[in-house]
């Protein structure tokens, strides 16, 4: 296995197109445990962290741009970003320990393709887009389209994610992410729920997005819950409909972390709570951002 650290996106894409068994990495917090578990090593490991735009967090007034290899600690320590997207910052901040946070990236969390990846529902509800570089230039995919199954991506072998774009949060909008794990730190989600709500001037819900982690082969949106919320003000009846839709959207597995029935039930509870937090935050952000 050969280690290379290109200093530009072009250099990285040309490395990937000329070496068929090359693999990109950022923090290696998924890659190393997988190699240790016996996954075949690539011939070339391409370190993305020495490319400037891959390790930066910027705001151009219209949108945030987060380099795909940026350590999640840099994101959660960015006060302006965390204030605008507390849900996404919390989700990113749940990944592992401080040691892991100083290495783990949003690009790696997404492209590892785990259904339990914490940052993914939070990126999805915020409409995050992935800027993908390949031999023929760049293309833009919705984050929700990137993972097609466990460990399966809509990227070609010679493509990688350069950065994520997230539009500035509109007025009266809030996001939230909650996860259930058997302990408070250092475990993988049994269920994760990301929500985002935009309120109309009269306080009713104008837009809603809900996405779940760890309950299906990929992160899933819950359109029935979103439809139940839009045009309404949250009350017990509507929140019960949200919970029922979330449980219904699950296609979970039985494993040591939780049974199918448990995951379904917890998905409903977390969905409801995440929506409530998002509404509360939207109310607080009554003016502009």
């Amino acid at each position: 296995m050969k280690y290379v650290a290109p200093s530009s996106v072009e250099e990285a894409t040309s490395l990937l197109s000329t070496s068929p068994s090359a693999q990109v990495f950022a923090g290696a917090t998924d890659v190393v445990p997988q190699l240790r578990a016996g996954r075949p090593a690539p011939e070339v490991l391409v370190d993305l962290k020495k490319i400037e735009e891959l390790v930066s967090v910027a705001n151009d007034g219209d949108k945030w741009t987060v380099g795909a290899a940026t350590p999640t600690a840099n994101l959660t320590e960015d006060e302006a970003f965390s204030e605008e997207f507390p849900g996404l910052a919390e989700a990113a901040g749940l990944i592992g320990s401080d040691q892991i946070q100083n290495r783990s990236s949003l690009g790696g969390n997404l492209c590892n393709g785990s259904p339990a990846a914490d940052s993914v529902p939070a990126m999805v509800v915020n409409g995050a887009r992935a800027v993908v570089a390949g031999p023929n230039g760049t293309r833009v995919l919705d984050v929700a389209e990137v993972v097609t199954g466990p460990g399966q991506l809509a990227l070609e072998a010679d493509e990688f994610i350069v950065e994520f774009e997230i539009d500035r949060i509109p007025a009266r909008t809030g996001d939230a992410y909650l996860r259930m794990i058997p302990r408070t730190e250092m475990d993988i989600a049994v269920v994760g729920a990301g929500a985002r709500v935009t309120l109309a001037e009269d306080g009713s819900i104008e837009q809603a997005a809900l996405a779940l982690a760890a309950v299906a082969p990929t992160c899933v949106r819950v359109p029935d819950a979103e439809a139940a919320l839009v045009g309404k003000t949250a009350n017990d009846e509507i929140l019960s409909a949200v919970a029922a839709a979330a449980s219904e959207a699950c296609d979970p597995i039985d494993d040591k972390r939780g049974t199918v029935a448990y995951r379904r039930q917890v998905a409903g509870v977390l969905a409801k709570r995440a929506v409530l937090i998002a509404i509360e935050r939207a109310e607080q952000r009554n003016g502009t951002n």
């Binding site: 280690y3 290696a28 445990p33 600690a73 401080d98 040691q99 892991i100 290495r103 250092m186």
Partner: protein, 158 residues
């Protein structure tokens, strides 16, 4: 296989070593540089026994490929003491019996140092979160938490 030449500053000293690209920073430190303070408990990022600082950020040396640190500055537990004088964290761990077998201790000391560098007056909860990536099978953690609190107090001059 050709070995890669890596130049770093380890514990204040310019250090060069040769390594295979697939070698972890942990194994390079232990086998090439001769610093065996950082330990391998799991090799997969779970236990924190291998914690070191790379460019002032605490990280698991078992998850870093050795060639990545070319040009970086590294601090291991061997670099904590200052000309033979133990770091307050080390002294408080000793006095507070915050270790038994000692395997986890180098990692805890580095994580605790990383915490106190950015937050000289952490609450107990903040200490517990900051040390959540370090496992100890012996002490039950309480004595470790107390030792960090005591060291923080001393370092603040209280």
């Amino acid at each position: 296989m050709a070995r890669t030449h890596v130049t770093t500053v380890v514990n204040g000293d310019e250090t060069e070593f040769l390594t295979e690209d697939s070698t972890s920073l942990l194994n390079a430190l232990r086998d090439e540089v001769g610093l065996t303070g950082a330990k391998e408990g799991c090799g997969t990022g779970d236990c924190g026994a291998c914690s070191v600082m790379v460019d002032d950020k605490v990280t698991c040396a078992c998850l870093v490929f050795a060639p990545e640190v070319d040009g970086s500055t590294i601090l291991t537990v061997e670099g904590l003491a200052d000309s033979g004088e133990l770091h307050p964290l080390q002294q408080c761990f000793l006095e507070g019996a915050a270790l038994q077998c000692g395997i986890c201790t180098p990692g805890f000391l580095i994580s605790a140092k990383a915490l106190l560098d950015r937050n000289p007056d952490p609450t107990e909860t903040e200490i517990r979160y900051a040390l959540a990536g370090n496992l100890c099978r012996c002490t039950g953690y309480d004595k470790i938490i107390r030792a960090v609190q005591e060291a923080a107090r001393e370092m603040r001059g209280q």
